[in-house]
Subunit: 420 residues, 2 copies
């Protein structure tokens, strides 16, 4: 097949003045610390243990304790079925926090009043070993919904994890996996401020807050309310912009702890700006890693939308495109069926689509709402890459970027019998 | 395995006063006309033709003309990328309508100004043969987005279809299929009012209006604005309650034509009530048929939600449950993982979930927000049925019923390379 441009129906409908690809925003400029992980930040320790929380006798690290005495901020799921640990955590941030307990294998969601008692007991067990108030221990759980937490196995595991702390953060990234295939960790540095993080999540990913667990830590010296505001902004532009399957979880949680052993970051300072940028970069890195590791996924998909009323509208619409099973299936099949992107933008209610410009992997396919001659062979070839991008433009000052993945038959296999 | 009730973790968390299954609303009471189809209604005719609209030389009926001189009402997609034929149709209803032209193979969406000219030319071509004003011909298209309509093939096919009318409505149901596996048609009768309909749709099904094409017809003598109101109400409780993949289409259209050759149905009359009930029954039948025939689906899934502020809220939440890929995958795997239903209700923002009652195929699994002892073997067995039901109850006066289907690997195969 030649590279000669041709329209899908063999004709060009109108002459087009400008077929340059649409612009793509640059990623944040920060230094990545090679091999860095959560414990790269000074003053932090982690402990892990095998709790057999799922009760299937497959022994693996499934309980972790993250110690970073200082302050913390957090965002938890917006689900009205928020799990007990999410409600415990959100009642205690922003504020002084010593440690975080996390378990895989059981979500402690839809577990009634007993679930709340179990979360409090979990925090108390860790606090007793660590020598801090139970109110300074946050709790995160992930796993099956609607099954009472097996406290007879969880509590001893929490005590073992809290009693054997080390500076090896890589254990942590492994301990919080469920159906994840790869560990997700990052450490970035900017202007003397270090931010590190780990995350888990590969299904039930469509953050109504953040649809997964992510643990960030920084050495910055920062007040808890300031940290909370910085986290909210970073999450809006990172975890809130990813989708794997459109399902918000009952247990989504993003926590950032700050040890205060590093640079003071008062509001308005250069250091504060560096912290904001570094925190966003770490969140963006982890969010993209979650999308790339979506259940059954083979391709990271990015959608850039220029226009709409504001950035938040553009981000939501870009994410809606990547939520579409039809768009996701087309990417999986390497089918340059860009009409489905238009369909998804329309279903999301984006205004001004009569003037839509659209690029598929940098190849213009639609200008001012009209199909243009495009090189289908080049588009099919571009779709073979491990990262695929749709770039769209409608009238308006907004700009949004979202990340997702393709939909494969493996997604169905993974989720058809999750519990066994 | 015995049928003895046991909780997932081998313990019962609290005693439960009432473990009767939750109630399920009865379907509307109407008479189904055996073998009835669109042309069972007096005064109607259809014509079909092979247009090779997709341009792949696979000859099949892909153009149809539906003649029912009288008045019509219609609802079209809420997508902001609404296709040219949807905009043409919505500008002409409610009002006098002679016929509807429909084609498969090309959606005439994202086709710019040329798309609007093509729709007008299509209506004019049919009108010239039928001897009516072009403004009394509605147009519906379904198929690939972003490809100019091949008018050199469409127009002759429209003329052939309009020129060879017959009373064999079964041709019609076949002509409008794309990835559908089964024809969807129904004819109901109540108190001397007849309503018949055909529909297509199996993917891109999540009505922002109705996410598919459905053509209804009645012999009722009714004014166009009254018919429009009746259609809007029936669609709210039928097509708006189904979801296959959460994608609203650019081309969704439901049209009802009324020939006026039957009973007068003035507002407030018994006949009006019968028309309302019959129209709802026909819409409900077709909507369920679309959900059952969802791309790759093996199971019709019904979600009944008692409670929430009002019926509309309950319907939207019930549909959100059936949109969840995790719920759909679990049904496909016959995995009684009802926690995912709780997760989906929470993601939909349903209030009062701390007091949630939930049944899985009539088996109580949650009462007042607490897991109860349930018979997992019986639940797994119930999930083998061709129809599966979740019934939920939260505080509030609303009631909603929605229909969907499971998510299979075949869905991905069907959509990974739709265009070829």
């Amino acid at each position: 097949m030649s590279g000669r441009p041709s329209s899908p129906d063999g004709r060009v409908t109108h002459p087009v003045p400008d077929l340059h690809p649409l612009p793509v925003p640059a990623p944040p400029a920060v230094g990545i610390v090679p091999g860095g992980t959560w414990t790269t930040v000074a003053g932090t320790q982690v402990g892990v243990a095998q709790g057999d929380i799922k009760g299937n006798k497959k022994l693996r690290d499934d309980v972790a304790v993250l110690v970073a005495p200082g302050v913390a901020a957090a965002l938890t799921t917006t689900s009205s079925a928020a799990a007990a640990p999410c409600r415990w955590t959100r009642a205690r941030v922003p504020g002084p926090v010593h440690a975080v307990v996390v378990n895989a294998g059981n979500a402690n969601a839809a577990t009634g009043a007993q679930g709340h008692r179990d979360t409090a007991a979990t925090a108390a067990a860790a606090a007793a070993v660590l020598g801090c108030p139970a109110d300074q221990v946050l709790v995160c759980s992930t796993g099956v919904i609607g099954v009472p937490m097996p406290m007879q196995r969880l509590l001893p595991a929490v005590e073992r994890a809290a009693g054997h702390l080390s500076a090896d953060g890589h254990h942590l990234a492994r301990a919080i996996l469920t159906t994840d295939l790869v560990e997700k960790e990052v450490c970035v540095e900017l202007d003397g401020v270090t931010v590190a993080g780990v995350a888990k999540g590969s299904g039930m990913i469509h953050p109504g807050m953040a649809t997964m667990l992510a643990f960030l830590v920084t050495d910055a010296q920062v007040e808890a309310p300031v940290l909370q505001a910085l986290l909210a902004d970073a999450v809006d532009r990172s975890f809130h912009c990813i989708t794997v399957d459109g399902d918000a979880s009952t247990n989504d949680t993003v926590i950032v702890q700050a040890t205060g052993q590093g640079r003071p970051c008062p509001e308005g300072s250069e250091a504060h700006a560096a912290l904001a940028q570094a925190l966003f970069a770490a969140c963006r890195h982890l969010a993209r890693a979650i999308a790339r590791d979506g259940e059954g996924a083979t391709t990271l998909v990015e959608c850039v939308l220029h226009g709409t009323a504001d950035d938040a509208t553009a981000r939501a619409a870009a994410r809606a495109v990547l939520r579409s099973p039809l768009v996701k299936s087309a990417v999986h099949g390497r089918d340059p069926n860009w009409g489905r992107v238009v369909g998804a933008l329309g279903a999301a209610g984006v205004q001004g689509l009569d003037h839509l410009d659209l690029d598929l992997c940098g190849i213009p396919v639609l200008r001012d709402g009209q199909p243009v001659a495009w090189d289908e062979a080049a588009a099919s070839a571009a779709l073979q890459a491990p990262e695929v991008r749709f770039t769209a433009r409608v009238p308006g000052p907004g700009l949004g970027v979202a990340w997702g993945c393709d939909l494969s038959a493996d997604y169905v296999s993974i989720n058809a019998d999750y519990r066994s």
